[in-house]
């Protein structure tokens, strides 16, 4: 062998070694099969920006003055000022303002006009359509006639119909708000091409068979274009993380099966007062910003394509206290009398990130979730949506000092990952190890950067998430 050849081989060997790295990744350079783009059936609204925009809803409000106490009247929130505030938070949809068109037509029209002005979609509640159930449901013709007054408004996004409908096979309650009673109304709306808002019950009692059946019953009977559920983790009486992800898993599974998107709720505070009692708050309000971002991040990682905040405005009875008449800081993005609470800013923060990543996530198919770390594994043990591996496609492994959750997506044939610092107390550096050098797009804290790397280290705030798209 000539020296020239020897030198050439030596050079090649040196260069080859430079590609291996300490981890010895030479063995992991196996090619990743390309993905075929998959149909993504996300529910979107032209009123809020169309197909690239993830619906971000505020639940409860704005409404007219709803309460008075000892000579003081709650302000009306159907104002230009409040809608501007709402829009500035990043909310682009109002799914239940608590206005009834049948009683407050003018206020609903005002709300629609404000919605158009600020790019916020409005779901209208009309008791004449959604309040008459079962055999009393108005006919298709009557429904069409009734909604004609507002359904053509540019900000109109649909009708609010039901929250947590009951079903004998899962939870019957008082039996007055069952799926079959609401179904005719929703079917009418579906025929008319109008979206009807329905939100499912969560399963806090661990009845998986019944719960699966319930979700499918809802999807089928109500002809749902999406599946929504409200499950809350930051409630001192119910801090079961596994149960939280179990609910997410089942809802995701039912939605994937039906090829519809799923939405979830994020709580803005806690210590709710459905019982309408008077009590003094625990002054340690939950949740803080890190916990809040964690909640949004894990939901996005699981493939949620719509986020709803409960609540936008604090219902007045949620503020009832004992020593003082009210606690307006207890929950709600905005307190019952109009003060801005911390969760407004937390939502604004998360909404900035959502607005930066939704163009990808609204066109991405959830393929499962990776978890790293004992805590994350424990919280998701046995769930269908978990990918039982150290990596997925170009992501071959991950290194971190704490727990990490990674949502895996088929983004029109490309790999997209939603990486979440699962630690909601501390920041950590998370290193993604790719099979080879790739051009990647990273969106974190609403900022987009492009890199060309094989290993990518992300310093991430507690609870925050980052979108990684493997561009090539």
């Amino acid at each position: 062998m000539s020296k020239k050849r020897v030198c050439g081989l030596l050079t090649a060997a040196a260069l080859l070694l430079s590609c291996l790295g300490v981890s010895g990744c030479a063995a992991k350079q196996a090619a990743v099969e390309p993905m075929e783009p998959e149909e993504v059936n996300a529910l979107t609204f032209d009123a809020i920006g169309g197909a690239d925009v993830m619906p971000i809803a505020g639940y409860y409000g704005p409404h007219l003055s709803d309460y008075c106490y000892n000579g003081e009247r709650q302000p009306s929130f159907v104002t230009d000022e409040f809608m501007k505030l709402t829009a500035e938070s990043g909310i682009n949809l109002l799914n239940h303002s608590y206005l009834d068109y049948s009683a407050s037509a003018k206020a609903v029209h005002d709300l629609l006009d404000y919605g158009e002005k600020y790019g916020v979609g409005i779901c209208v509640y009309d008791a004449k359509v959604a309040g008459a159930l079962g055999d009393s449901t108005p006919s298709l013709t009557m429904t069409a006639e009734q909604i004609a007054a507002y359904s053509r408004h540019p900000a109109f996004c649909g009708l609010y119909v039901a929250d947590e409908p009951q079903w004998a096979g899962f939870h019957l309650g008082d039996g007055t708000r069952t799926i079959d009673l609401y179904a005719p109304s929703l079917q009418n709306l579906s025929t008319l091409g109008v979206y009807g808002y329905v939100n499912a019950l969560p399963d806090y009692n661990g009845k998986p068979e019944q719960y699966r059946a319930y979700l499918r019953e809802m999807i089928t009977e109500m002809d749902l274009p999406y599946l929504s559920v409200d499950a809350y983790i930051w409630d001192k009486s119910n801090m079961d993380f596994h149960n939280y992800f179990y609910i997410m898993d089942e809802v995701r599974d039912a939605a994937l099966e039906a090829n519809i998107p799923f939405w979830t709720f994020v709580q803005t505070g806690s210590q709710w007062n459905d019982g309408q009692k008077h009590f003094d708050s625990d002054p340690n309000y939950v949740l803080n910003n890190k916990q809040f971002q964690w909640t949004v991040s894990v939901n996005l990682a699981w493939g949620v394509q719509g986020i709803q905040y409960f609540t936008l405005i604090q219902p007045y009875h949620f503020s009832w206290a004992l020593t003082e008449p009210f606690d307006f800081n207890r929950n709600g993005m905005v307190g019952a009398w109009g003060n801005i609470n911390e969760w407004y800013y937390y939502a604004q923060e998360s909404n900035r990130q959502i607005a930066a990543v939704d163009e990808v996530l609204m066109h991405a198919k959830s393929k499962g979730v990776l978890v790293y770390g004992d805590r994350a594994k424990q919280d998701t043990a046995g769930l269908k949506g978990i990918i039982q591996a150290d990596g997925w496609r170009e992501l071959v492994d991950l290194e971190a000092t704490g727990d990490v959750m990674v949502g895996c997506f088929n983004y029109q044939g490309k790999t997209a990952l939603y990486v979440v610092n699962y630690d909601y107390e501390y920041a950590q550096d998370i290193t993604l190890k790719l099979n080879k050098k790739h051009n990647v797009t990273v969106i974190y804290d609403a900022e987009t950067e492009h890199y060309s790397a094989k290993n990518l280290t992300l310093p991430m705030q507690a609870g925050y998430g980052a979108l990684i798209v493997i561009d090539d």
Partner: protein, 519 residues
């Protein structure tokens, strides 16, 4: 004063209480009763004191056995006192089955006892005794001093065994009567007014079952309160004097009770209000309440689509003698009376069976659909007599358009309310409350605004929230991007290899040149 006995509803017939109306009443009064329900199951120890704990209730009777001693007694907790302005002090009626009274012994029905542990013959007692003195005899004695009876009825032979009924009535002028088995046994004037407790005493060994009891007495109230005027200026009112509440909403928007400004004037507005009330925070007995009604919807208001936006108002009225400040709903149904200004411009009263008690529809058609003038209203209660007045707001004096006497003849003490049963669409202003008790107990009250505190907006500290805090013991790396650690060694190898390769190439070339040169 401890009220340990049961209060009953104020509602006796005029026939029974007609005798009570003789004297003027200057303060709130109500009557109290005690009856057999106090020992139906067991002796209610909040009503009866048994000093020796040796008397029990058995089968619905207070049972004194033959083993009783002179200390075996039962005395009511309630201390009866004269109620100012009323005629009667007390009425005490009791039925007992007398099985045995030892020879020389006596069983006593007593009034005016100065203590709930009084003994036979104590000062203040008026004792109606069944005495076995060679046969059963009835006696009545008053003890102005202990052990020193004033005989009011000499021992009178009676049929004292078996069922007996004793009834004692005492008036505030010390006149009295005693009935035995329905017949008057004694009457006259007592040497003193026997204020105190009623009960049963004995000399010992009496086997008597008290099967029935009824005691009627009165309480005198002169509540401490304030005269005040409220104009709602500065968008508020004194929460130490007034409280308002809307118990439930109506389907109309907006629906509320709150201080609002109409034509530049602050007033308390009931707008599409459901059941709602304004209450005094102090209790009143004799009073006069006046208020303006500067805004009133008399004709239903509709929008261009004929949708009702504000229906014509319901009646509004004044209740008094109420037990509570705040009610969950239409609490006026429990009131001793509601004087209400009705939609036909007549005034009615609940105490009078909702009969018209006043009105002048010609001079004051206050609810007429085409009427626009604001009105002022007056409701006054003095000595169980109610007067109702009205005027147009710009008039000086009220015109009395109705008056009546309360059927029970009483002046109840309690909170005063202005009500709407819903849907109320009116406003009130310039409320004035005056205590009309003969000897008013007026107190000063500080101003406390009804407004509650609304917290300031949360201050978002972006810098603090964005600061990365790592778990102790973990390393912090900076920057997103290349991971240099993983490239360091390979790069070093490349850097090290390059000069070697170059050297080898150069050496190889030199040798080649040398090889050619050799050739």
């Amino acid at each position: 004063m401890k009220r340990a006995i049961k209060w009953t509803a104020i509602g006796l017939s005029v026939a029974v209480l007609g005798c009570l109306l003789a004297l003027p009443v200057y303060a709130g009064t109500s009557f109290e009763t005690l009856d057999s329900s106090s020992f139906e199951e067991e002796l209610d120890q909040t009503i009866w004191n048994v000093p020796e704990a040796d008397v029990e209730a058995v089968d619905g009777a207070i049972e004194f056995t033959a083993e009783s001693t002179e200390y075996s007694r039962v005395i009511a907790m309630n201390v009866i006192e004269q109620a100012y302005g009323l005629e009667e002090l007390l009425y005490f009626e009791s039925t007992a089955y007398v099985s045995d009274i030892p020879e020389g012994g006596e069983f006593i029905f007593a009034v005016g006892m100065g203590s709930i542990e009084s003994y036979r013959g104590d000062e203040g007692n008026v004792e109606i005794a069944l005495r076995n003195d060679g046969g059963m005899k009835l006696t009545v004695n008053a003890y102005e001093a202990s052990g020193e009876p004033t005989e009011l009825l000499s021992p009178k032979a009676v049929s004292g065994y078996g069922t007996v009924t004793v009834a004692v009535q005492v008036n505030n002028d010390c006149t009295y009567s005693v009935k035995f088995n329905g017949s008057t046994a004694a009457s006259g004037r007592l040497p003193y007014l026997p204020e105190g407790s009623v009960g049963y005493l004995q000399s010992g060994g009496c086997a008597v079952s008290v099967t029935d009891v009824y005691v009627r007495s009165y309480a005198y109230d002169a509540p401490a309160n304030s005269n005040f005027k409220e104009t709602f200026d500065n968008d508020q009112y004194n929460a130490n004097l007034l409280f308002s509440k809307q118990a439930w909403k109506t389907q109309y928007d907006p629906t509320y009770v709150s201080v609002e400004s109409i034509d530049g004037n602050d007033m308390l507005v009931f707008s599409n209000a459901g059941s709602a009330h304004l209450s005094t925070m102090q209790q009143y007995s004799n009073f006069r309440l006046t208020f303006d009604v500067p805004w009133l919807i008399r004709m239903t208001e509709m929008d261009e689509d004929s949708t009702v936006i504000a229906p014509s108002s319901s009646w509004f009225g004044v209740s008094y003698g109420d037990a509570l400040v705040e009610y969950a709903g239409n609490g006026y149904t429990d009131s001793p009376d509601v004087v209400y200004f009705d939609r036909d411009s007549q005034v009615r009263s609940f105490a009078m069976g909702k009969a018209v008690v006043g009105g002048d529809t010609e001079a004051y058609p206050f609810f007429a659909i085409d009427e626009t003038r604001p009105i002022s209203c007056m409701v006054e209660l003095v000595d169980a007599h109610v007067r109702v007045g009205i005027k147009w707001m710009d008039e000086e004096e009220f015109t009395i358009i109705g008056e009546y006497d309360r059927p029970d003849g009483l002046t109840p003490t309690g909170y005063v309310h202005i009500w709407t049963p819903g849907t109320g669409n009116f406003a009130i202003d310039n409320i004035e409350m005056v205590n009309l008790d003969g000897e008013p107990q007026l107190v000063e009250v500080e101003f406390k605004t009804n407004k509650f505190k609304i917290p300031a907006d949360y201050v978002w500290d972006e810098e603090a929230e964005s600061k990365l805090v790592y778990r102790p013991g973990t390393e912090k790396k900076t920057g997103i991007g290349w991971n240099t650690w993983y490239l360091l060694i390979p790069c070093a190898l490349v850097v090290a290899a390059v000069p070697v390769v170059i050297a080898l190439i150069v050496r190889g070339k030199n040798k080649k040149k040398e090889g050619k040169a050799d050739e």
